[in-house]
Symmetry: C2
């Protein structure tokens, strides 16, 4: 059994803690949160503290706190014997002081309150200085997920940028579409099967192969009609930019 203390009960900490409770390979010995106790049923019986000097003995201390607190909280953990790993996509491992055993345990997924995640499909990106610590994080990752990959801090930052584009920016486009349909009294949920299929399709096709639509075909009549529909919209410029970018991509390939 790997003994784990989770520090921080935001979305990442809560989802990870709940997943560890279900695992036979992990013992969640304590959860720490600066303020409130956990309210989830699954975590109710786990020992709780809001004092950093009261942490239990553990093999791994997982920092599930905001990026800008990682250095400060890790510094306060200088006396623990276990491995200290943060869970951020962007913060370098070196933000944890070198006098500690240090590492990274980054689950590559977007967690939302109240929405269950199948952890077996969440890639876990790990990093550590010592081979034994990397092995420990690998075992911890495998207790939840089918996919554990060792990635350096530099590469992890790049992966996180890819995640921001594929998740945050994509979700913003959903916002634009939803707002436009709502203004026109159309149900955004009509697009849900298309949206899910657009994502699912990437299991079989690269995004370059999967591209369709008027911009790729350079269907000028449809593009003109769409720009006309958006003539009073703040999103006309975005439409032009995306359309030009797609045209350029496929124009170059002709």
């Amino acid at each position: 059994m790997i003994r784990v203390v989770v520090l921080g009960l935001g979305n990442v900490g809560t989802h990870l803690s709940t997943a560890f409770v279900k695992s036979d390979l992990v013992q969640l010995v304590q959860v720490y949160n600066r303020s409130a106790r956990p309210v989830e049923d699954a975590l109710y019986r786990i020992p709780f503290t809001n004092k950093l000097h009261d942490l239990a003995d553990a093999d791994v201390y997982l920092l599930c706190i905001s990026d800008d607190q990682i250095h400060e909280v890790a510094t306060q953990l200088s006396k623990v014997d276990g491995l200290i790993a943060h869970t951020s996509g962007t913060v370098a491992m070196e933000q944890i002081p070198r006098r500690s055993r240090r590492g990274v345990f980054y689950p590559l997924q977007s967690f939302s309150k109240g929405i269950d995640i199948d952890f077996s499909k969440v890639p876990v990106c790990i990093e550590a200085e010592e081979d034994d610590d990397l092995k420990l994080l690998s075992q911890l990752g495998n207790s939840l997920s089918d996919q554990v990959v060792a990635i350096s801090s530099e590469q992890r930052k790049k992966l996180h940028l890819g995640a921001v584009i594929s998740n945050n920016f994509v979700n913003y486009l959903y916002q634009v579409a939803a707002a436009y349909l709502e203004e026109n009294e159309l149900d955004f949920q009509l697009l849900q099967p298309l949206i899910e299929e657009t994502a699912r399709k990437l299991n079989d096709l690269s995004p370059l192969e999967a591209q369709t639509g008027p911009a790729k075909r350079n269907d000028q009549q449809t593009i003109k009609n769409h720009l006309h529909l958006l003539s009073d919209s703040p999103h006309q410029h975005l439409y032009e930019l995306m359309t030009d970018a797609i045209r350029t991509t496929y124009g170059k390939k002709l």
Copy 2:
């Protein structure tokens, strides 16, 4: 049984024909294609023609051809008794000559060659001039799908614009992320669970509620790091534009 002739065996025509063959409520009496016979096993036994003057008798003639051919092909069908419906998201019903019974049967999904689609989840948007014809298209739609909605040509164009944003533009962002990761020797498939969850989540949350990330949090350090990572990239401008747009959306809400 509704007797159907499908005209055109591109992606839409092939997927629709294959789905009709499986339906007990529809008899696919003939497929027309300008050039080649269908090669799919499921369509091999369906009577085939490449001559518009040789069309079989049917209740519905479904035009699954490119937008700019709809008017011309429909004009050549002036002698058929059945209902003529096109399957385009953008073309007005009136592009089919008024001397014909005319309608629209628009399946709101992105079809790719060789990738199966569960038609029961594909919304079918229908339109017709006569009540009986609308009823016929509704029955035809229900033979495949759980969701059939009557939508005017004007509203359908707007829905199609929403689809372009949510599918074509989103897929372009996947391209940008994939190209960036590939350049940096990272596997784009690591993002696949995140991409699918970003789409799936919209069943439970509006895109406004689902937004996360550095732009929403106005996390200036991460944004600065990302812009630095993209300093030699043609996509730096896109990153700035999307980030500013998200910041503006949530800044206004503070």
